[in-house]
């Protein structure tokens, strides 16, 4: 990253300013074209199309700054960190900045896209340019007022100073600035001069959260709004046969019982993909009621029968099918270097292990819900969704409306983890409102949410490696997965390029159970499998576990491969610091350490888990986590992200189990499904590598490696190699605990 970078794209199409009748200036800019979660690195920023504005900076006559960020908050702190980037270059005191969720003018917000873990990476430059451009306009206005050259003026903390030492506040020149040309070239600060970026900054919604103010989708209300609860098929593979709503209709709080599904079916016929069984096109019975409880009660009173439409699947069959696939020879090769077969044939020793992980529900703390009000004039949709742009398109297609008729407003989200990328629940709300001609809130219970989800697919990896003369000569990874597969990027992750003969093969089985992205998609289990394998491999080779990695990364440095995604230097950096900070190899008696290192979501992470055995049950006491994510924009939010990712990873690799029996989910609520709780959590000791590289994702990359760190530590304590998740249910290393 070069400081003082000059941008080449036309700023006129990117920024626009106007004076406000109420005083002050409003600067509009486009935030999200540059930071879509599915976008690739914007290699050529001049190609970005800044046609419309969806975010605003308001500077009042008093110099107070309000940043209207259209970015919904899932819990990653981007609602705080993204405005920090603007404020840094605008050069105002953070205390003078007020951040508001941009719902003030919905017409300007139909093109929002909520960023995932990547948002900070993609917005890093555009947002800083925005702030810098606004600052330059203010400086130009002050210079014109003084009749001096703008280059003689400087701005700091909201005050502009000229060569004579005269000063003007931003508020004093906003009116003039509104009429100024938008400057074409602005320079960005040298990271050394940052005063806001890198400073611990509290969550901008903190006061509302701790006092219980309405913030989330579930909290949203409108005059005349009714509540709806949807009865969906109890098993994947089943559809509605008959139903009797008389008992439900007799309840005093129930307004109506309707059937939806027809619109969704037509919409599916138009070629839209079915993300979930929820919009598989079956009929669903909807209870519309005065309150949420009336709707839930009404749903329980419906007597419905279901018939089998496609085969009902069970975890037992899935296991068999995936093993058969691994044993078979039908694979798609994702990457192949050298000759794995030959390396294996010539090896002194080949080791092969198989790793297994179950389906997982997202279980966002706030169950899926959405508000919809479909009227002849417009379609108003409000709630927690990560993909508002897609949602608007889908709603338009569903209801046969113009895209302009659709307004999507985003609320704060009670967790996402990938679930809120899919808008099945918005579609339901829209279809219900359309049928009853009323504003409606569709609310899922926990049972609905866990039982009709979009799951992390059940997956098995078989990894084999060949050892010759004490060296690793070949590495072959096979993946068998329900529905989804690893995407093209993963085969270029470590150890690709580190082993001469290397191959990644994938295969899958198409199931009627809906699957999709789950926190740290594609790597959340892969990292566990590979890093557990490496631990065993090092032992088989009789070499030090850490040294094996450092040496393999040295190979990569010596034979650079343009296709690989990770940086061998940065991986070595996190490994070395983790060894130092965790006191690796020097733990006290009774404490067992496990190591893991991984690159994903553009960040490099090494982790060491310290465990103790309590009456035969492993307890993770501490995790040392070293992260290289470039510049840490907000250390306070970053710590939350890192610790949350680590503990979430431990919870799901050790405790959370899920599966199906004849299409019916094995758990539907927290009495039988375990999420990690405080008593099971370690202290997470976090260290960031300090550098001046552009920031990368933090919401996801600390989760994937931790499963292996824990498994490797448990091996040291018990002598058992853990290959099947969740570990606590599968390896007899302790009691399964719920609650």
């Amino acid at each position: 990253m070069t400081p003082s970078k000059t941008m080449t794209f036309s700023r006129r199409s990117f920024l626009k300013s106007s004076a406000l009748a109420s005083g002050g200036i409003l600067i509009g800019f486009n935030l999200f074209n540059a930071c879509k979660p599915d976008a690739k690195v914007p290699v050529d920023i001049s190609q970005l199309n800044f046609n419309d504005f969806n975010a605003f900076i308001k500077i009042s006559d008093e110099g107070k700054v309000t940043i209207f960020s259209p970015n919904p908050e899932i819990g990653q702190g981007v609602k705080t960190s993204m405005p920090m980037l603007i404020a840094e270059e605008l050069d105002v005191a953070w205390d003078d900045v007020y951040v508001e969720q941009g719902v003030l003018d919905t017409n300007n917000y139909t093109r929002q896209v909520a960023g995932g873990s990547q948002s900070i990476r993609f917005s890093w430059e555009p947002l800083r340019q925005t702030g810098a451009t606004a600052k330059q306009m203010l400086v130009n206005a002050a210079a014109a007022k003084w009749g001096v050259d703008a280059s003689e003026c400087t701005a700091k903390l909201g005050v502009i100073t000229n060569a004579n030492g005269d000063t003007l506040g931003y508020g004093d020149v906003v009116k003039d600035a509104a009429g100024m040309e938008v400057p074409e070239n602005v320079s960005l600060k040298d990271p050394k001069d940052f005063t806001i970026i890198g400073k611990a900054t509290g969550n901008v919604d903190i006061d509302k959260i701790i006092t219980g103010k309405p913030l989330f989708g579930l909290d949203y209300k409108e005059e005349g709004m009714v509540y709806a609860s949807v009865l969906r098929p109890p098993a994947f593979g089943q559809v509605l046969d008959t139903f009797d709503a008389s008992a439900a209709k007799a309840l005093p709080g129930v307004i109506d019982v309707i059937v939806i599904g027809e619109k969704a079916r037509k919409f599916l016929d138009k070629g839209f993909i079915s993300w979930t069984s929820v919009i598989s096109g079956t009929d669903k019975v909807v209870v519309v009621a005065k309150t949420t409880w009336d709707a839930i009660k009404g749903k329980k009173a419906i007597k419905a029968t279901w018939k089998n439409d496609t085969p009902l699947e069970s975890t037992e069959n899935h296991d068999k099918i995936l093993f058969d696939l691994l044993d078979g020879d039908k694979f798609d090769t994702q990457r192949s270097d050298g000759d794995v077969k030959k390396a294996f044939a010539q090896a002194d020793k080949v080791i092969e292990r198989t790793y297994e992980a179950p389906f997982l529900p997202h279980n966002c703390m706030e169950p899926m819900n959405f508000f919809a009000n479909v009227t002849p004039e417009k379609v108003h949709l409000v709630g927690p969704i990560q993909t508002p742009e897609e949602t608007a398109k889908v709603a338009a297609a569903l209801l046969d409306r113009e895209l302009e008729d659709i307004e999507v407003e985003m609320t704060r989200m009670g967790g996402g983890f990938g679930r809120r990328l899919y808008c099945d629940f918005v579609i339901e709300a829209a279809e219900i409102s359309n049928a009853i001609n009323k504003p409606v809130k569709m609310i899922s219970t926990r049972e609905d949410d866990m039982g009709t989800g979009v799951y992390r697919p059940s997956t098995k990896y078989r990894i084999a490696a060949s050892i010759k003369d004490g060296k690793l000569t070949g590495y072959h990874l096979k993946e068998a997965c329900v529905n989804g597969n690893m995407y093209g990027l993963i085969p270029n992750f470590f150890p690709a390029a580190a082993v001469e003969n290397y191959k990644v093969d994938t295969t899958n089985y198409k199931s009627n159970i809906t699957t999709g992205a789950w926190r740290a998609p594609y790597t959340n289990f892969l990292a566990s499998a590979e890093q557990t394998f490496f631990d065993e491999l090092a032992e088989e080779m009789g070499v030090d576990r850490i040294q094996l990695h450092l040496d393999l990364l040295e190979n990569v440095k010596n034979n650079p491969d343009p296709k690989i995604e990770y940086s061998p230097e940065r991986l070595q950096g996190v490994i070395k610091l983790a060894v130092e900070k965790s006191n690796w190899g020097k733990s006290e008696a009774g404490v067992y350490q496990g190591f893991s290192v991984y690159y994903c979501h553009n960040s490099h992470v090494a982790e060491v888990a310290d465990i103790v055995m309590d009456n035969g049950t492993p307890t993770v006491k501490k995790v040392t986590c070293v992260v290289d994510c470039g510049i840490v924009v907000n250390p306070m939010g970053a710590l939350n992200q890192v610790k949350g990712g680590v503990i979430d990873g431990i919870g799901h690799t050790m405790y959370s189990d899920f599966g199906f029996n004849n299409g019916i989910p094995l758990s539907k609520n927290f009495d039988t499904y375990q999420l990690i709780r405080m008593g099971q959590t370690p202290k997470v000791d976090v260290h960031f590598i300090e550098n001046e590289l552009a920031p990368t994702g933090l919401g996801e990359p600390t989760l994937p490696p931790v499963g292996a760190a824990v498994a490797n530590a448990i091996y040291k304590a018990t002598g058992k190699r853990l290959t099947k998740q969740p570990y606590m249910s599968n390896m007899n290393v302790g009691e399964k605990v719920i609650g």
Binding site: E73, I74, G75, Q76, G77, G202, N203, D205, I206, D207, I209, I210, T211, G212, K213, P214, L215, F216, L218, D219, K221, Y227, P252, G253, T291, T292, W293, D294, I296, K297, N363, C364, M365, E366, R412, M413, G414, G415, F417, T445, R446, M636, N640, Q641, K643, G644, V646, I647, D648, N669, F670, D671, L675, I676, R677, M678, G679, T681, V684, G739
Partner: protein, 153 residues
């Protein structure tokens, strides 16, 4: 439908509801106190925690008919202006991630500390074990409870 008189945050509210309606939904849908959250509906997650006569209770399990005559405090009534020591500690440590579970966490912590203002580490972990945080902000919650305990003692 029967009517009930509820004393919530030192105010009396008269609501019409089925006997078996959980207090949670009366608070959220009828009295507009949406700070109390729905997470599981079966007493397993703690998102719906309120104070009933000073004790932390799951409002999803408490029927409106049982709540009559009791002193109910929700997150909105924990303090006038968000300055209860637990709220202040939450802000100082910047605990929330998505934030959804946090009013339940704060209500559990505040009821616990009012009975035990000088808790040990393991008492804190036990007291908070019933509240799930899907974002896993547990380290920060633990730290914030300690900070709040310091403020209280």
């Amino acid at each position: 439908m029967p009517t009930f008189n509820l004393k919530i945050n030192n105010e009396t509210h008269t609501v019409e509801a089925d006997m078996d309606t959980p207090l949670l939904w009366v608070l959220r849908d009828q009295i507009d106190l949406v700070g109390t959250k729905f997470g599981c509906g079966i007493g397993q997650c703690g998102a719906c925690t309120v104070h009933v006569d000073g004790n932390a209770m799951r409002s999803c399990l408490l029927q409106v008919s049982q709540a009559e005559g009791m002193n109910i405090t929700t997150i909105e009534g924990l303090s006038e202006d968000g300055t209860h020591p637990v709220q202040e500690a939450w802000k100082e440590i910047d605990v929330p991630q998505c934030g959804y579970c946090q009013s339940g966490q704060i209500m559990t912590a505040s009821a616990f500390l009012s009975k035990n203002p000088n808790p040990s580490d393991s008492q804190i972990r036990n007291a908070m074990h019933g509240n799930i945080c899907r974002c896993a902000s547990y380290n920060s919650i633990e730290e914030a409870v300690k900070v709040a305990a310091d403020k209280l003692s």
